[in-house]
Amino acid sequence: MSCPPLLAAADDVRADASRAPTDVAQALCSQAPRLRRLVHRLLGWRAAADELDDVVQDVLLKAWNGRASFRGEASLATWLTAIALSTTASHARARARWRRLFGWFDREPAQPLPSTDNDASQRAAAAMQRLRHDDREVLVLRYLEQRAIPEIAELLGCTRPAVDARLSRARQRLRDLLGGTEEP
């Protein structure tokens, strides 16, 4: 069953007692492709389809279970994006913890970044995958999702100067990675 397009952004899931639960679920499901693309970017373009489905489903379930807490101060898209950011961060932490615990026996040596100039996108992708999740998060929000700094600050729950500082630090680390092959 396909989902209808999102209606007016903020009015969809706002605590509207008259709205049927099916409409709320449809409004949430219509955001799934956008959330899937966001999660795919946040995980460094390397998550498998099943992993992406799991994270997106977690986001939708959290949104459904917490729909009463949606006050309508932000748009539905922004609210879901905030949930997706926290869920993806938790998922990335769990994955890193799992790799630390059980990945030592099949650890592969770090591959150098592609060196030729004609595969700049491959180099950028490899460097993004080596970044810490926090750094990748602000880069994705700013440069791939094209969000403004105040909006990023609202999504991440921090101040604008903090977002600026994180962005500058993430850019520098990405530049360092693209300049060499060191680990982040």
Partner: protein
């Protein structure tokens, strides 16, 4: 002059364009509700199972076969302890006997030496007492 970040951002955009997300599951309101119901059922089942386990652990009746097994184990352990004590006491007794034998041998050797000295002294005494038998006296 080109901003050095421009190349960075262009390469990021190119990487994003070359790595589209693979097609995944279709999320529908019906599927969402099914997932929620399944999740709720799973949580309720887990809670009930936990509760049942806790109840069983607390209210578990004493088992007679377990008591017999425990008694057998206790008697076997006490037997092993007694045999160990016997071995230990035997070893201690042997050690003490060896030490006593050695001490007696030492004492008897010392007494024999003393006796030999006394005998030698007794043999030498008449010679020492009679100046005529003294070897220092010129004949």
């Amino acid at each position: 002059m080109t901003d050095p970040d421009d190349a960075l951002l262009r390469s990021l955009a190119a990487a994003d364009a070359t790595h589209p997300p693979s097609p995944g599951a279709e999320f529908s309101p019906h599927g969402l509700r099914t997932t929620i119901a399944r999740q709720r059922r799973r949580r309720v089942a887990a809670a009930l199972a936990l509760l049942g386990l806790a109840t069983f652990a607390v209210l578990r009746p004493p088992n007679s076969s377990d008591a017999e097994a425990a008694a057998d184990l206790a008697s076997e352990l006490s037997r092993q302890i007694e045999s160990l004590q016997r071995v230990t006491s035997d070893w201690t007794a042997r050690t003490h006997a060896a030490a006593a034998h050695e001490a007696a041998a030492t004492r008897s050797a010392r007494a024999a030496a003393d006796l030999r000295i006394e005998l030698a002294y007794a043999r030498a005494l008449p010679v020492l007492a009679n100046p005529r038998l003294s070897p220092e006296q010129p004949r």
